[in-house]
Symmetry: C2
Subunit: 518 residues, 2 copies
């Protein structure tokens, strides 16, 4: 006999889901027990659900397929929502399994009871509620297929405890995801015509288009037509470095973005949306498309955006070869660490084929330039603005690609949100080097105060943006979670410690203390 939980897990594995990031509770105990009955699934314990969902996001960005999360009832899902929000913005596939009280138990409104679908609705998740042990295999197969739509998305299976423990018909066969739509030749032709017109155009790419094939196509189009290529501000996965076409990212600050878009008569978007300001500011526009410019979408969201870019390149740039960035390393700097030199250490020492989980925020403003000629790497960025993504995403990326070095560049205030990700790095012996940029401030907010016009700031306001008194010692915290850690205050120390961490497998943390930019 096979219970519902065993049927579910077997179905997941048959559909290609190999990793379960989880933090279970009583209602999920049969799912947990069933993990041992299915050899091909790996269970990874995270000590907080924000780590669970962020790890599933990072895994999907690198593996290109979903992991499954295991979450305990509504409150467990609630704890994972912020990183699901980021994952939704990243358009990655995630399969959530959310435990639920047995149907017979729901009527009593027991202490942990809540409206799970209110939360899946908030995260725009495709959602299925399991109704019987006989059907749960089929439900699981359809949930995996839903996650692998185009663009990929979050899909959630709500699993009542009695469906989990009841005996049923066993696993179901995988369900094929709906394939991506082919690009529309008429739209491609129309945009080709615009690009050939000589009018000034920006080509803004995002989503699935920011890895090599999309970048190559965009670069060829730009080289042939003079359009200005740009990558969306916060790409889920951006391939860059020596040999890869180097395309600037649209600036985070509206002032930067406005400068990049200035003069454009056409804004062509591919795999992303027209540019918009991150926040509203008094008297400033939210819509960053230059006045009078026309917006064109290369393809519908359901289409294969890389194929669309390649079709466009074939039309306008048939004979044009892509231009890869030239290998060029910054010199190793010396002296006390600051916001300009720590990134040079990273750029100078970044290993080949690294994955960089970047939540360095204001401390990372000079990171892109310092690593432009470093060996080829993938950058995973904070896609939805909900802080606390970087360390969990690094966990998931390292599980997906154990052969690649993972570098987490993590600012202090954001790190605290999901700091227990460090423990999972230690538990799983993940090859992650965390450089914790410790500037002791919510520096971005100090900057934003002035930008929103809140210029009269007193001590109470200042205290809410300050992370000193007491200073946090992230090396001590990391050791407490089982990760070897050191402190760096100079470029020499950071260089030496970063080299040593990269040379030794397993997780390390460097508490890099720099002055705040603001």
């Amino acid at each position: 006999m096979t219970n519902g939980a065993q049927a579910l897990i077997s179905t997941l594995v048959d559909a290609g889901v190999e990793v379960c990031f989880g933090n279970p509770g009583t209602s999920e105990m049969h799912f947990v027990a069933a993990l041992d009955s299915v050899p091909r699934i790996r269970g990874v314990l995270c000590l907080f659900e924000g780590v669970v969902t962020g790890a599933a996001d990072g895994y999907a960005r690198i593996a290109g397929k979903p992991a499954v999360t295991l979450l305990h009832l509504g409150p467990g899902l609630a704890n994972g929502l912020a990183n699901l929000h980021n994952a939704r913005r990243a358009h990655v596939p995630i399969v959530n399994v959310v435990g639920e009280h047995a149907d017979s138990h729901k009527q009593f409104d027991a202490p942990l009871d809540s409206d799970i679908e209110a939360l899946t609705g908030w995260s725009h998740s495709w959602t299925r509620r399991g109704s019987s042990p006989d059907r749960i295999g089929r439900d699981a197969a359809e949930t995996v297929a839903a996650a692998q739509a185009t663009p990929p998305r979050i899909a959630t299976l709500v699993l009542p405890a009695d469906v989990s423990w009841g005996e049923g018909r066993g696993p179901a066969a995988p369900v094929e995801p709906v394939p991506a739509a082919a690009p529309d030749p008429a739209t491609v032709a129309e945009i080709a015509k615009i690009l050939r017109s000589g009018e000034r155009a920006v080509l803004l790419i995002g989503g699935a288009a920011t890895t090599e094939r999309g970048l190559v196509a965009a670069d060829r189009i730009a080289a042939a037509t003079g359009a200005r290529p740009l990558v969306e501000t916060h790409p889920a996965r951006l391939t860059r470095g020596a040999g890869v076409p180097a395309i600037d990212r649209l600036g985070y600050l509206a002032e930067q973005a406005t400068g990049q878009l200035d003069g454009a008569e056409h804004v062509i978007v591919a795999g992303t949306r027209p540019p918009v300001s991150f926040f509203a500011y008094p008297g400033k526009p939210s819509d960053l498309v230059p006045a009078g410019a026309q917006v064109h979408r290369l393809a519908e969201p359901e289409a294969d955006i890389v194929a669309a870019l390649e079709a466009l390149a074939a039309e306008v740039a048939a004979d044009v070869a892509p231009r890869g960035a030239v290998a060029s390393l910054p010199e190793l700097p010396s002296g006390p660490l600051d916001v300009r030199n720590w990134v040079q250490v990273i750029g100078a020492l970044l290993p080949e084929n690294a994955i960089v989980s970047d939540e360095s925020n204001t401390s990372g403003v000079f990171l892109g330039a310092a690593t432009a000629g470093s060996p080829r790497h993938d950058v995973l960025s904070l896609t939805g603005g909900a802080i606390g993504q970087g360390l969990p995403v690094a966990v998931g990326a390292a599980v997906a690609a154990p052969e690649r070095p993972v570098i987490a560049l993590q600012s202090d205030g954001s790190a605290v949100y999901t700091i227990s990700a460090l423990w999972t790095m230690a538990r799983e012996n993940l090859n992650i080097t965390t450089v914790l940029i410790n500037n002791r401030a919510y520096a971005i907010l100090r900057m934003e105060l002035g930008r929103v016009g809140a210029t009269e700031v007193g001590p109470k306001a200042g205290d809410l943006l300050d992370l000193s008194r007491p200073d946090m010692d992230f090396a001590a915290i990391a050791r407490g979670f089982g990760v070897p850690a050191t402190v760096a205050t100079t470029c020499e120390e950071l260089s030496e410690q970063f080299r040593a961490a990269l040379a030794e497998p397993g997780p390390h943390l460097i508490d890099a203390r720099i002055p705040s930019l603001f």
Copy 2:
């Protein structure tokens, strides 16, 4: 001129709200700046929203009135939901201010945009969306009044950035909350008749009835009628110790509760609901009311439950005096720490008038007995089952009552959820002694595995319930967050360190390492 944020904060203060627990973002910068323009409000920075909401809960349990939280958009609220779930179950008043994008910005679905009301709906919060700087003072006054309904509840004011920065009419006068309904004399008389009938009755009290007046009335009723008094399993605030009537709590495990309720022909509930199993178990009932027993409610939820109990006591126990628990301390134990002796150290050394934030879970099964004759104290328990409440609740309680010693009894797995509460303890120099019960397991889940019938457990399942490999060093983590910390492995060490921590103002943590019960 007064902007919306200033009007809002002035109105809150005029309505008696004195403390703001917050973690702000760009959209809340005008609120942050406005804190300095209103002298009577105190801003307390927490490094994660689960700490913010848990602190507001702990504050309300002790202060008896709401604090205000400051949360950054939907993702900030999402991070605070689990402890709002606990606060909802605790029936405490909380005023949330959730920042929101300016109205003009909403249409662009910027990265941090989301459906905030989906989340306030999940937490059963009364919700108002601010619409203009002219009206925001009135909105704030009505939000505070809504939080102070009977029973108290969570009330949320969604604050668009443009309402915050716009100039308006200034603060509004406080709005009186709807007063509690008077108890219904007919219901009281009917229950008095049942109690006098000689049939076996249980009197289950909860909510506002578990502090001294309610306990005294319940004890007098029990003494006069022979009814068995019980306190709900997870009271928000239970006053106990020497001199206070000692009333057993309903057991967490259905097996315990069934034994306590066995034979009852009447279950009279006051300030709480009929007993229900925390989780469902195969083949076991969720409804714990004995078969054939009648359930009676002493009052509607909107009524003054303490007044109802006192009216009932006046009817059936006019001449009966309450019986306070006798002062009696356990002997200080010696030898290696275990689940039975660590609580005796607490019981022997608990200071007068302490507040105990108890999230010791399975490690605390013997805590009640060990502290029954200790000096009078208040216990704040985990009300909604969403772990990670204990440290934040301790923060809030300490802010509400700086003159009282606060003791956080905190299990390891739950501590990790909101561990950065330690930093706020250090920042605010709160007089909190945390005893971190470090048993290196989700012990409760090891117990629950067998109870749900998941008996075939292999290594993968075991790993998901195990908190070792690596062992966490909570003393190191605490020091990293700025809290002085020690490690105790014996009763002698725990006694000495607990005494020392109590003797010195400010926060301390003791990493007490005990074997897991399961």
